[in-house]
């Protein structure tokens, strides 16, 4: 295995970590307005309270790793998706602000406004991530100088909108299971109903997206035709998703959550494997695509970074898991709560 491939995989791991972690807290945000009383909304907020900003660090590190390992990819994507990137960042800032400020005053109007801000910015963040993914799959117009040649509105084509909605659905499913896992009593029972609806929403989106991909994005299937064994992966994905309602029915909420994490891992794998060895597909001029071999940093940098990652990441994983362990169990409101 060469260093370029290792960094492609490591970048994939970081972004998958982000998708799993921020996925549930964006999902909790998207579902926020379905909870009714102030007590319920505070439970929703505090279920993600101690972890949401740690979750966002995975995006920061993922972005850093992309800058470091594939500077041209980082530069092309960030400048090409200029307005989309800032819209996304503004949504993330708004979310953070809403979480911090909502419970700081008693007034109903104050809290309702922040609740709406929290919900909309969460949905919009998930949607924009989806749009970016849709464009990575579809390909974006690049010139021979590696620069983006399209427009902001050119990014909003039907396929990208479809991936946007699918990511929203995925986050909502993932988030609803998280809420079930972290709550108890009557609210917990009602949240179980959300899971069912979210799964239906996600499965519908997933089927439409899969059909659209098979019909209109043949290059995503090319790698699978080379390695037919890997067709078991989309099947595994369906099994994992089908397993969620089963575990929920048997009240094994944590297993349901793991299943949903597994589904996200598989989806990220499908994405990575589909575009490999490219990172940014150029459409309509595939010869200008950015790939992991020509558009990476030097071998020396990749090597130094690998050493850093090998020392740092096991430690990061260890304490991330211990922090989740410390905050395990049902969420309770206390004086440190939002």
């Amino acid at each position: 295995m060469d260093l370029h491939l290792i960094w492609f995989i490591l970048l994939g791991i970081l972004l998958t970590g982000y998708a799993i972690l921020d996925g549930f807290d964006l999902g909790v945000g998207a579902l926020h307005l379905f909870s009714k009383t102030d007590q319920e909304r505070r439970l929703m907020l505090n279920s993600i309270g101690p972890v949401w900003d740690g979750n966002e660090v995975w995006l920061v590190t993922g972005g850093g790793a992309m800058f470091a390992a594939f500077p041209d990819v980082y530069a092309t994507l960030a400048s090409g998706f200029y307005l989309a990137v800032y819209l996304l960042i503004f949504c993330l800032i708004f979310r953070a602000v809403a979480i911090e400020f909502r419970s700081k005053r008693e007034g109903a109007a104050w809290r309702q406004s922040w609740d709406i801000a929290f919900c909309i910015s969460s949905i919009l963040s998930a949607f924009l991530f989806g749009v970016v993914i849709g464009n990575l799959i579809w390909g974006i117009p690049l010139g021979s100088d590696k620069e983006f040649q399209g427009t902001f509105f050119g990014l909003l084509h039907p396929y990208a909108l479809l991936t946007g909605l699918t990511v929203v659905a995925l986050c909502m499913m993932h988030g609803s299971i998280y809420v079930v896992m972290k709550t108890e009593g009557e609210f917990h029972d009602r949240a179980r109903g959300w899971v069912k609806n979210c799964i239906i929403f996600f499965v519908i989106m997933y089927v439409i997206l899969t059909m659209a991909t098979l019909l209109y994005v043949p290059h995503m299937v090319a790698n699978f035709q080379k390695y037919p064994v890997l067709f078991f992966i989309p099947v595994a994905n369906l099994l994992l998703i089908a397993n969620v309602p089963r575990e929920i029915y048997h009240k094994r909420d944590f297993m349901a959550f793991l299943s949903s994490c597994g589904a996200i891992v598989v989806l990220m794998f499908l994405l990575g494997f589909g575009i490999f060895p490219n990172l940014v597909l150029s459409n309509p001029h595939p010869e200008f695509s950015l790939n992991i071999y020509q558009d990476s940093s030097s071998l020396k940098t990749l090597q130094i970074m690998l050493v850093i990652a090998l020392i740092g990441m096991p430690v990061v994983l260890a304490y991330t898991l211990s922090i989740y362990w410390i905050f395990r169990g049902k969420v309770k409101l206390d004086d440190h709560s939002y």
């Binding site: 920061v60 400048s79 100088d145 922090i323």
Partner: protein, 452 residues
């Protein structure tokens, strides 16, 4: 307005607003660690309350620091993509290290620091304070290393030519320990400590003046004052060393900092003054030959001045001069304040001297201003280069971005940051008014509410 100007305005706005918060996190991180260590050693419940209160303030500054920090990370790519392609290979390792060693550490353990009081043993909580403090300092290390590489590049070679030229790393050690990185790091960190110190002093002085939370305020003030004296002395020494490095490696920046115009003449030193660029002079009191003495140890040594450089290689002189001199002035004021505090403390009248406490309340702005002015000196003084001597700022822009897109994002930033700042002040004010006692009172009512 041109793409270059808009992009520079946006970068200044976002970085200056962001930089209100990280120094507070670094400074408060250390102060919290000291307080919780005292609590662990003495088991004095007062220090438990101290830690608890300042952790709340830390949480607030950290949240806004993260939110505005995400912007910084992507702004290199969005607005300066040519620069990003150029430096990516060199910055790569520094940024990866920052993500892995600093951010994860800080945000992960902050969860325990803020929400884990009743969930972990005291020693684990203390360990979390240590990790958060370390994480905050680590992030300063890698950011300052990367920025110092832009000031004094080392450990690299240039690959490709013209449009495709980019820097590639050849020597990791030389890159990290480039000629200016360590002294600038020391300067930045002691500046951050001072920012934390003055925040604690200001809030404590406010309590003393209002006759509220007296034991709490006295203990906080003692810790902050001791750290403050050490940090402001360190600040003076590291500043002096950093200026020497600038003199050696960035001659155009130095002459702009001192507004030394003649091509070759003994350098005079102006403690303050007005820059008259038209007539190429500074109007104000001067110490003849002192600049020569500072640079070469001789009062009459000639210093190469602005006139000897090509005009297109020079930074804006007036901004650099004013920013640098104001920073030093503020630094002196802060050292004086610390010195007076020490005298009053040793006389035992510190907590009763009203005029001094009244000075401390607004003094929280001094380190904030000085930090911003210091960075203005460093960054404006580096112009017209984005990487000193290698890549011009105008060459670093994104090619795929139009001016109207930057104008749009700039307007959005202005509005959102205004909102953020108002909310920050509002929340800070609320937490200060609640005070450490407020936290406990609130706790009681909430446990009461929970039990009913």
């Amino acid at each position: 307005m041109s793409l270059l100007l808009l992009s520079r305005i946006q970068f200044s706005l976002t970085i200056m607003f962001h930089y209100i918060y990280p120094p507070l996190s670094i400074g408060l991180g250390l102060i919290i660690l000291i307080m919780e260590s005292i609590y662990m050693l003495t088991k004095d419940p007062l220090y438990h309350r101290l830690t608890k209160f300042w952790v709340k303030i830390f949480g607030l500054t950290f949240a806004i620091g993260v939110a505005t920090g995400i912007v910084m990370e992507f702004e290199f790519g969005t607005n300066w993509s040519t620069y990003s392609r150029y430096v990516g290979d060199v910055f790569g390792s520094a940024l990866a290290a920052e993500g892995v060693f600093a951010f994860f550490l800080e945000s992960g353990f902050l969860a325990i620091l803020l929400f884990g009081w009743d969930k972990v043993r005291p020693i684990v909580h203390w360990f979390s304070a240590l990790m958060v403090c370390l994480g905050a300092h680590f992030s300063a290390i890698w950011i300052v290393v990367a920025n110092s590489w832009m000031q004094t590049p080392a450990g690299f070679h240039i690959v490709g030519t013209g449009m495709h030229a980019r820097a590639e790393i050849t020597d990791f050690r030389a890159m990290v320990f480039n000629p200016s990185s360590m002294e600038r790091l020391a300067h930045v960190i002691s500046g951050a400590w001072i920012a934390g110190v003055f925040l604690v002093l200001s809030i404590s002085a406010y309590y003393l003046l209002k006759q509220k939370n007296i034991p709490f305020a006295k203990a906080s003030m003692k810790v902050a004052l001791i750290l403050g004296i050490a940090a402001s002395l360190a600040q003076m020494i590291t500043g002096r060393i950093a200026a020497e490095t600038v003199a050696k490696w960035q001659p155009t920046k130095l002459v702009a900092m001192e507004a030394h115009f003649p091509a070759s003449a003994p350098g005079d030193f102006y403690p303050f003054g007005l820059v008259d660029e038209k007539n190429q002079r500074v109007i104000g009191p001067k110490i003849p030959g002192f600049l020569s003495y500072l640079m070469y140890g001789k009062w009459d040594a000639p210093v190469r001045g602005l006139e000897s450089f090509k005009k297109e290689d020079l930074p804006p002189v007036a901004i650099t001069f004013y920013a640098y001199h104001l920073m030093i002035l503020l630094g002196i004021v802060m050292i004086l304040l610390m010195g007076i505090g020490l005298i009053l403390f040793s006389k035992g009248t510190l907590f009763e001297t009203k005029w001094y406490l009244k000075l401390l309340v607004p003094a929280v702005l001094l380190p904030q201003l000085a930090n911003q002015l210091g960075w203005t000196t460093a960054e404006v003084g580096r112009q017209p280069w984005i990487v000193y001597g290698l890549l011009r700022t105008s060459q670093g822009l994104s090619k795929a971005v139009q001016a109207d897109a930057v104008l749009t994002s700039l307007i959005m930033f202005t509005l959102i940051y205004l909102l953020l700042f108002v909310l920050f002040i509002f929340l800070l004010d609320q937490k200060i008014k609640q005070g450490p006692g407020g936290i406990e009172a609130q706790e009681e009512t909430q446990t009461h509410r929970a039990s009913t």
